[in-house]
């Protein structure tokens, strides 16, 4: 039964530099990387299957996690393994591949997933590298190959600040999208649920079959799959559900349609410090300096793979994250602002009515409404103890007490964490709490600690 769910709580952050719905095909990256750290739950030193200098095809394995040797992590492009970069304690930071530009794919053979058994579908996903795209809740880890999820959830839209518009980026990939759904359907005894944007007239994804389509409308985080799960069929203790991003679902679909591991994706490049916000097409793990070449109009910027709320600070020489479909370029806010706490000198996003979205101008009536913000990375205040209450609840459209949950995590109270619904949330669902927090509390970091602790304790 399809539902239309209207969410009231939440907050949309409008940032400057929203990409125009125009695809720039001229931009190509030639260096790509797969970063083990992108995949939650992987051990820091996975087993490498390639050496520097090896030639690989798109879909050839690069490494695997030792406990699950058949779940392969594969190369997004064909080319040569240029470097295996190591981080602290010899952990593998990234495997870097220089593309040969020929785009040669390893052939996994096309098949209609409806005609395959569960084991066959699993085997295909695992050997091609697609398995790594399936995330398991609770904990947001790479799906356990032996588990059978209660249901599988996909959110077909993204409400993060400056997120890529999936109607634009994936609207033409419906066939692959459907094939992906068909494949996922073989993995669960339950349902595949797709959450589509109910805030727009009609979505390209309305007509999908072999799944339950629910419409969600409301401010961010309405597009977060975790919020959607909570409203459709919440995760209870002992239950497992899987989630897949719509981009990765298309990749899975293409595997079955064409037999290729094709991670090509259209991503959004936006943010206040981008000269020309736009969409480009590239492959998973592309080097961002090539994608951003000359497109930054400030010197002191932060390059974020992902959104301003849930992203990684990767630097200009970094690589697009495996689960990220947007780049956000922000001004660094490492400057002092005189009396900035009481007299903000420039407009900034806030849920507080004390910081109205207005700016002063020199022209009558000397005040102008601000529609989008040039937000920077300044914390706008120092860390404090919890004082203000009700803020987190105002931006969390779930039947959860975020502040009490965080306090339970801080006091290592496992029973309470479980009781207060830690299984139902991952970092992105509480990212807005971190944004709004008056006391500048590290919400996502703390939540991850709690999730890791729960996982360790089994």
């Amino acid at each position: 039964m399809s539902k239309a769910i209207k969410l009231k709580k939440g907050f949309n952050i409008n940032l400057d530099g929203k990409p125009e719905l125009k695809l720039d095909k001229s931009i190509k990256a030639s260096t790509f990387a797969v970063k083990p750290a992108d995949f939650q739950s992987l051990r820091p030193i996975p087993k490498l299957t390639v050496e520097v200098g090896d030639e690989v095809l798109a879909g050839d394995p690069l490494f695997f996690d030792k406990p699950n040797p058949d779940v392969l992590f594969t190369s997004p492009v064909s080319g040569e393994v240029a470097e295996i970069r190591r981080g602290a304690k010899r952990a593998i930071d990234s495997v870097i591949i220089i593309a040969d530009g020929k785009n040669q794919f390893k052939d996994f053979g096309s098949a209609n997933p409806k005609n395959l058994s569960r084991e066959d579908v699993k085997a295909k996903l695992k050997e091609s590298g697609c398995w790594a795209f399936i995330k398991q809740r609770p904990f947001n880890i790479v799906a356990e190959p032996d588990a059978v999820p209660r249901d599988i959830f996909i959110s077909a839209f993204d409400t993060n600040p400056l997120a890529a518009d999936t109607e634009f980026t994936l609207g033409a990939e419906l066939k692959a999208f459907q094939a992906g759904i068909d494949a996922l359907n073989q993995l669960t005894d339950g349902d595949v649920y797709v959450g589509v944007n109910g805030g727009i007239g009609g979505s390209s994804f309305d007509g999908l079959s072999n799944c339950t389509v629910n419409k969600f409308s409301g401010p961010h985080p309405a597009g977060n799959v975790g919020v959607q799960i909570h409203h459709v069929k919440p995760i209870n203790k002992g239950e497992i559900v899987w989630t897949v991003s719509p981009y990765d679902l298309v990749t899975i679909g293409k595997l079955f349609l064409h037999g290729k591991y094709d991670t090509s994706r259209t991503i959004a490049i936006g943010g206040p410090s981008v000269a020309e916000p736009k969409y480009i097409t590239t492959y998973s793990g592309a080097k961002v300096s090539a994608l951003l070449d000359g497109n930054i109009n400030e010197e002191n910027v932060r390059v974020v793979s992902g959104s301003a709320l849930v992203g990684d600070n990767i630097g200009i020489d970094g690589f697009l994250g495996s689960f990220h479909h947007q780049l956000t370029i922000l001004d660094e806010g490492d400057f002092y602002e005189m009396l900035g706490w009481i007299l903000p000198s420039y407009p900034r996003p806030s849920i507080s009515p004390t910081i109205p979205p207005f700016t002063l101008t020199t022209k009558f009536p000397f005040i102008k409404k601000v529609d989008s913000f040039n937000a920077n990375t300044n914390t706008h205040g120092e860390k404090r103890a919890f004082v203000v209450t009700g803020q987190y609840e105002a931006v969390t459209p779930m039947d959860i007490f975020p502040q009490q949950l965080l306090k339970a995590i801080l006091s290592n109270d496992l029973d309470k964490m479980e009781g207060l619904g830690i299984y139902e949330v991952v970092e992105e669902d509480m990212a807005l709490c971190e944004f709004v927090c008056t006391s500048k509390f590290n919400v996502q970091e703390t939540l991850r600690k709690g999730l890791d602790l729960m996982r360790e304790q089994g």
Binding site: E337, M338, W341, P349, T377, V388, Q404
Partner: protein
Amino acid sequence: MRKASFLRKQIDKVKPYFNSNPILHTVFDGLETFLFQPNETTTSKTHIKDGMDLKRTMVHVVIAMALCAAHGTMNIGHQHYASMGMFPGLFDGLLYKLTYGIIQFLPIFTVVHLVGLGIEFLFAASKGHAIEEGFLVSGFLIPLIMPPDIPLWMVAVATAFAVIIAKEAFGGTGMNILNVALTARVFVFFAYPTAISGDEVWIAQDYNIIHQIIGLPQVAFEHFGINKMPDGGWATMMVDGYTGATPLALAAKGGWPAVTEYYSLNDMIMGFIPGSVGEMNKLLIIAGAAFLVFTGIGSWRIMLSMLVGAIVMGILLNVIGGAMGLDQTAFVNVPWYYQLIMGSFFFAMAYMATDPVTAAQTESGKYIYGFLIGVVGMIVRVLNPAYPEGWMLAILLLNVFAPLIDHVIVNRNIKRRLARVG
């Protein structure tokens, strides 16, 4: 990167000299972050942050109280002169009234901050923390809820007690269980009851040393044609028909008719009556409350439910009074709407009950918390002969019970979650 201003450069130059000593460093850091929002940037996965911080939150509460403080200051002077039959009109001798009021109020305000901030600075330095902003509000509240001529040493002791025992002992701002300002008041109330109850303390009558230095007593000398302080103090100069008793004290003795004998409804609403410094003018307090609600800083849930609680209990008391056949001179028979006007109900509702740290923290818990304060406060006020006003004790009592209210609300959420499993 923005260019550093001249002032910023000077601060950066002197900054290293303050790092040698923890107390110096804490004080410097406090002033520096007051002058400049720090250049800290985000380090986690959330790269942008709301412009709101604790300093801004606290300062908005202070702004909401500023007019109450201004009115209170003027009223100290007005009561002082009017009680002696001088300048009976509100705007007569305004300058004298203001001067007298400021010189009466400012020492209290200064002592509170010297003691309170001093202790905060010491604790912050010893813990190696930054100074938390909680005292911005507590320090503003304490002078407003004291009688106008309370001895300064009592203010100092009460403030020290409140900050050390009610707050720092629990871990500082955000950790306290009891409202800090009310703890200061309740300390005076139980330790020095004569200084904060009865009919004599609510009008400032004496001239302190600063008054004498600037020659203010001269105005009264001339008025009465005397040249030294009257024997028995200035209180003996109080004119007939004037009382230092608050409306509540009168109502406790003789019901609403006793109140109206001395005060008009208008006086009570506009706050030109004896009492604690800042809790007088109901219109300004309601304006402050509206400001807090509009800015989202004060919880409308607590304010509304406390109002409802007080009204419900007020009506109930009226009904009981009627059923017992008591006449209009009984306290229980003071109509519930007048109960709201007398005393410090609105002040307690706007600024005391809404303290987010000591109130219930869950949104639905706030309704229960506020409602119970309204009910308990009215009971203490009307049915207890020992205490003339109820809100201080009601709020402190509910401060203690707020975690229990939250516990119930949070546990219901846990049970809902368990029930899903079936």
